[in-house]
Amino acid sequence: MKTIVNVLVCASTLVLATACALLAPFGLDARARSAAAVLLETHAVLQQAVLIYGHLPACTTPPLVHVCREPRHWLAIRQAERLATDAILAAAPVLDGAAPDTGEILRAIEAIDALTRALGEGRRAAETRDRKETAP
């Protein structure tokens, strides 16, 4: 399960960078809309990573399971997800070409990036805990 979350975060980061590169040189024509779809799919992939993390059992002391969800990181991830979704919904009229971009797309990209970082911090915390548990 942890591997899946790790790979989702890595893949999403890669795709987010691609989406940024695709969006940058174009106006919001049909081609840019295609890039916008990639950006939205990226967020949808990240949301799946969030769902997977959310389904993990909560961490306990002493640990009862090998892979678990830390309440502090879960709170941060949920908050980042909400902010990213809000930013995307605020950018919706721009993404479908109904309104000019006044910074909404950049804010959405930044919010998605913040979600990626929150998931990454959760992953690093899990790895650190793993090392402590398996240390001799």
Binding site: M1, T3, I4, N6, V7, L8, C10, A11, L14, V15, T18, L22, A30, R31, R33, S34, A35, A36, A37, V38, L40, E41, H43, A44, V45, Q47, Q48, V50, L51, I52, G54, R78, E81, R82, T85, I88, L89, A92, L95, D96, G97, A98
Partner: protein, 68 residues
């Protein structure tokens, strides 16, 4: 493969993620291939496509936020 087919592949992949994916390598290969194909396509994405994606994102977010 058309953009729509790719989107369907992604949707199916993500819907059944824990069941469909055996290894992380498998997942990253599938996602990279699907997104590379998306990026190469010249077909137009319609406003309806964008709306559908936004609805999916909103629904998933509601699920996430309903978690305790």
């Amino acid at each position: 493969m058309t953009r729509d087919t790719t989107l369907r592949l992604l949707t199916a992949l993500l819907a059944d993620l824990p069941q469909a994916i055996e290894t992380g390598d498998q997942l990253i290969r599938l996602i990279n291939r699907a997104y590379a194909q998306l990026g190469d396509m010249d077909e137009d994405v319609t406003a309806e496509d964008i709306d559908a994606l936004l609805k999916k994102i909103r629904a998933t977010s509601a699920r996430i936020q309903s978690f305790g």
